[in-house]
């Protein structure tokens, strides 16, 4: 189904080229980085590397008729060995001047910068703050309705998205699979003069397929199948929420974003993340500073349930219950300073230095220097 949507979006975009407008745009982020000696962070180590966060993308869009547009985005990411993938492929129907409906594979509007997350040129950071933005579920197969309007100086946008998410990700160095069904995301964004406010709430039925944890789950099941199903994330309801605020005086700006997620009946810890960022715009230069924090360290869940079991079982149960939750637990904060330089109206050069500190394991602390060339055409 996904393939068919992707193919038809391209076919439509290409075939419409004969008689109508086909727009080809692209963007590229060339990001290089190196960490302090013997450290690693965000996929970088103490040798200069370009692959963790570089990407090249082409977007093709074509008007099928006055109200319908087909859009496909091909992205080659360094972290995937620059294999090209159709990350977005969707049709948009402009129902009225205020309302549009898009269907296919789309970006899920979870964050303030979700929509343009891959377009480095659109923001001041080298890469959007990982504490908030590093989630293994950015795209959704489904439908999104956008409504926007304004009255006087107040502009507003509402989005309602529904669909399904499937993605591979890495947990504690092991590959794993995530599936979220029946996803519903609601967002509201308001712009009033120099202020911007945004809120988001989402829910879905989450299934984690993590081969590395299978043996532990099996052992747990032999003792108590109730605890096993409680800890497993198997079609369990998950919640996501977030808010952001921004004040942009053009010469300077300050912004903050907060997100949280929980999957109550699962091993996955309740998480909260936020960043605060500020910058100055002086001609072509935008120096900035960002503080970010990620907290997935809310104490192990379900430990209180173990007390009800016979004494000989309590030690192995405790080991299993805590051991299964351990890989997902983390707590860290990062401070970055950097500068963006507008080389041209379609090229930006950036450099930043990030100091990452792991609140659970000091040996993971690292300093990372990154530089980037962002290009749009």
């Amino acid at each position: 189904m996904k393939k068919i949507i992707a193919m038809s979006a391209v076919a439509l975009a290409v075939s419409s080229g004969v008689q109508a407008d086909v727009r080809i745009n692209g963007f590229a982020n060339l990001v290089g980085g190196i960490t302090s000696s013997d450290d690693s962070l965000y996929g970088y180590d103490d040798n200069v590397s370009f692959s963790p966060e570089s990407l090249f993308a082409i977007q093709v869009s074509g008007d099928i008729n006055e109200r319908m547009t087909a859009t496909g985005q091909l992205v080659a990411r360094g972290e995937d060995d620059y294999d090209v993938a159709f990350e977005w492929a969707y049709l948009t129907f402009q129902a009225t001047d205020d309302t549009s409906i898009s269907a296919g594979r789309l970006r899920m509007p979870l964050f303030r910068y979700s929509a343009s997350l891959d377009v480095g040129y659109s923001y001041h950071w080298v890469v959007a703050p990982q504490s908030v933005y590093n989630v293994p579920f950015n795209n959704i197969d489904g439908v999104r309705v956008d409504f926007n309007g304004y009255s006087d100086d107040l502009e507003y946008t509402f989005q309602l998205t529904g669909g399904k998410v499937e993605n591979d990700f890495t947990l504690a160095g092991q590959s794993a699979r995530l599936q979220i069904n029946n996803v519903i995301v609601g967002t509201a964004e308001f712009t009033y003069l120099n202020w911007k406010f945004r809120g988001v709430a989402a829910r879905g039925d989450v299934t984690f397929d993590i081969p590395a944890l299978e043996p532990a789950f099996a052992q747990l099941g032999q003792i108590d199948s109730g605890l096993q199903s409680l800890l497993e994330a198997n079609d369990d309801s998950g919640l996501f929420y977030g808010a952001s605020i921004e004040y942009d005086a053009f010469d300077w700006f300050v912004a903050a974003e907060f997100t949280g997620a929980e999957i109550e009946d699962s091993f996955y810890p309740d998480e909260t993340n936020f960043y605060v960022t500020a910058g100055l715009r002086s001609g072509k230069w935008t120096p900035f500073i960002t503080y970010e924090k990620s907290d997935l360290n809310d104490g192990p869940k379900f430990v209180d349930r173990i007390a009800g079991f016979p004494a000989p079982l309590q030690v192995p149960l405790t080991q299993l219950v805590i051991g299964i939750q351990q890989p997902a637990i983390s707590e860290n904060d990062t401070t970055s300073v950097g500068v963006r330089y507008d080389y041209d109206t379609n090229v930006a050069l950036k450099v930043d230095v990030s100091k990452y500190s792991d609140d659970l394991d000091e040996s993971q602390d690292a300093t990372l220097v990154r530089f980037a060339v962002n290009y749009v055409f």
Binding site: F27, T69, Q73, Y90, S116, D342, D344, N346
Partner: protein, 141 residues
């Protein structure tokens, strides 16, 4: 303290001087048949892709100038209120989320006037010295 004041004074002087040198008087131009009430807010919304129609309800087709044009820089600064790079970053957000197509760009004032004179939906901007009888000029600043 004195240094700071001196520094501020120098900056102010420099800004004043550079503003004086760069100050081209930008005016909006529309088709002579266009009788819409157009102010800076309307222009801003149309050129940032937030509005596709004139206040009267008819379609609006913004016409931009190429990045190399000095009138473009002046228009972005004084009417839109952002640098050309910021305006371009704004459009990159819309383009790569399928939410908009940036205005067509033409080379200079003469090309803007030719395009606007030929299209009742068009709206562009030029240096006031370039205005001809083929278009209607509107002062928005």
């Amino acid at each position: 303290m004195l240094k700071k004041h001196l520094f501020r004074g120098c900056i102010a002087l420099m800004v004043a001087l550079s503003a004086h040198v760069a100050m081209a008087d930008v005016v909006m131009v529309v088709h002579p048949s266009n009788s819409d009430a157009i102010d800076a807010k309307v222009v801003k919304r149309i050129f940032l892709g937030k509005e596709k129609k004139f206040p009267g309800g008819s379609d609006a087709t913004p016409i931009n100038q190429v990045a190399e044009s000095s009138v473009r820089g002046e228009f972005d600064d004084s009417v839109i209120g952002r640098s050309s790079a910021q305006v371009s970053a704004h459009w990159s957000k819309l383009v790569f989320t399928g939410k908009g197509v940036p205005p067509a760009e033409v080379a200079d004032d003469a090309a803007v006037i030719a395009a606007v004179a030929a299209d009742p939906t068009a709206i562009g901007y030029v240096d006031s010295a370039s205005v001809t009888g083929a278009v209607k000029a509107i002062q928005v600043q």
